[in-house]
Amino acid sequence: MKYQSVLSMFLLFVVIPVWIGVIWVNFLRIKDRAEAFFMAWITGIVTMFAVGQIVLVPLIAAEATLTLAVSVIKMLYTLLAVISFYLLLEHIFGCSLEAEKKQARRMNAADEKKSVFTAVFGVAAAVLIFLQAFVPAYYQHIDDDDSRFVAEEVSAVVHDTMLKDDPISDRFMYWDMGETRKDLASPWTMYVAACCRIVNLAPAVFSHTLFPFFMIPICYAVFFLIGCILFRDDREKVFLFLIFLSVLLIWDYTSTHTSGSMLLLRIWQGKALVAGFFIPVLLLLFYRILQQRESVREMALLPVVSFAGSLVSGIGIVIVPILLAIYGLVDFIYYRNLKKTLAVWMSAAPCGIYLVYYLNGII
């Protein structure tokens, strides 16, 4: 494997998401450094997926080439990165030195409270997460579902088409034919093909080796932030929570359908991303939203998650609105704030549009 491709993967799945996510961190006004970094990483990835969905669906319907899709996606990522850079400059030059010093003093005071157990649990959690990312990257797990997903990606990369070749016979077909018809509403395979073009890797290598190595830690970053909310930033408890969660997931192979199996065995497939990444992301956002009576800034992320969840799988199109409905209802029961509840429910609108097409495709 070329080192250039590995470096490109690092840029595409760490540097660029964090860079783009700074826009959201700035918007959500997150101060804690670790939280800000992980939130930027997660929101950046979600935003990149959402951009992929917004670009790919119309381009596939218009029978455009993969090259065009890659160019548009790259342009939009660049635009988001420029906006983020502007906000960063504004933050650096707009913040007074005294305020920075005060914040640093507060941070140091918080650091001093950390016990030796915090460090021990932190290191143990990091090692466990690294091992979970390393195993699928180093060893081989074969899943027959890839015969459709990876085959579609290979066809797209080589033929420069999008969902136009039958994944089995390679015969020309229209995107509105066969099982792949429903892929128009959730074109994860085409997004992967676009990424493969960007990082110059074969889809099988991208999916089976490098993607899990980057994606599994991102999923755990979501769990870290969930822990920070649940334990009110008590890092000792948060790290122990991550250790317990890791153990639960590693010993969760009671069937191939469990969330643990999806996350650790085949995270490169869209449906596994729904189970391992999008549902925890929605939990994270709901936990933040449910703590406040009034509408909060996190709600602006819900439609973005809606778009991004639609990209990865048809089950994302179904599950995201159901979760929005459930948590909107819980919020209404607790706060009786109809405006806020309606705003949560309305966030499902992107999924609703794709859902109509998706259900039409499978009936």
Binding site: I168, S169, F244, S259, I315
Partner: protein
């Protein structure tokens, strides 16, 4: 109604993996009880939303009108919405930190981990992860056979029949080899035609009917036919059937249309 209830229960059993998953679910139920009595915030954030998710899933009406119609065969995926791992781990940490002394905490934490390990099924085992055979992480035989077929330089898109164990992998490696049938033979991806079905049935046999296979392959413009010499009993050459020996790759014998 009873049928729907049974179907929902079957989906649940399918999801947790039957008896193997029961203990983790008992831990989860215990964690839910802890949440119920551990304060308003926990109930608001985790308990009630999870109860609603479970009511949604175990609702026979929802299954009848939505699940059975739109999520047939994959209804169990809705169980992902229940944050089983998060809630169990959270409750375990809460329980551990209820203890005052650090040695008691360590013992309780270790006990929880041992319980999970003893009663669960490990993700990393021989049947789930093997040593990578190549950079693509696909069976090496599929790559060798694909390269051999492509090396013939017959056409941009050649149609081939390959043994069942290679069906899912050839096109993950190369897209210039079209398959006569693939995973659709097992009922996935798209419908399978009558000719494809007959060839597939013959390829499943130890001694395939060469006459039938070659006739149908010729009719459908299949250029390559590949057999596994270990599992298929086939003649040394198929010259009389319109195909000639092209190459042997390991245990695989490839024939090309004459």
């Amino acid at each position: 109604m009873l049928t729907d209830c049974i179907a929902v229960w079957d989906n649940f059993k399918n999801f947790i993996g039957g008896r193997a998953g029961i203990f983790h679910w008992l831990l989860f139920c215990a964690a839910m009880l802890v949440l119920l009595f551990s304060g308003k915030r926990d109930r608001k954030l985790m308990f009630w939303p999870t109860v609603l998710v479970l009511l949604f899933f175990f609702n026979p009406f929802f299954y009848r009108f939505v699940g059975n119609r739109f999520l047939s065969g994959v209804y169990w995926r809705l169980m992902w919405m229940a944050p089983v791992g998060v809630i169990t781990a959270y409750a375990a940490v809460r329980a551990v930190f209820r203890l005052n002394r650090s040695y008691l905490r360590a013992a309780a934490g270790a006990l929880f981990i041992v319980c999970v390990i003893v009663t669960g099924e490990r993700m990393y085992q021989q049947k789930t992860f093997q040593k990578a055979e190549n950079i693509y992480k696909l069976p090496q035989a599929a790559i060798d056979v694909s390269d051999a077929i492509a090396a013939a330089g017959v056409n941009w898109k050649v149609r081939s029949v390959v043994p069942n164990e290679l069906l899912c992998y050839v096109r993950q490696y190369r897209c210039d080899i079209g398959l006569f049938y693939g995973r659709n033979a097992g009922g996935f991806i798209s419908d399978i035609g009558e000719d494809e079905k007959r060839v597939y049935e013959e390829m499943c046999k130890e001694e395939p009917d060469i006459e039938t296979v070659t006739q149908l392959c010729k009719k459908n413009e299949v250029i390559f036919i590949c057999f596994n010499r270990n599992t298929h009993r086939i003649p040394d050459d198929l010259d009389g059937y319109g195909y000639e020996h092209y190459r042997d790759v390991g245990v695989y014998r490839i024939f090309i249309k004459s």
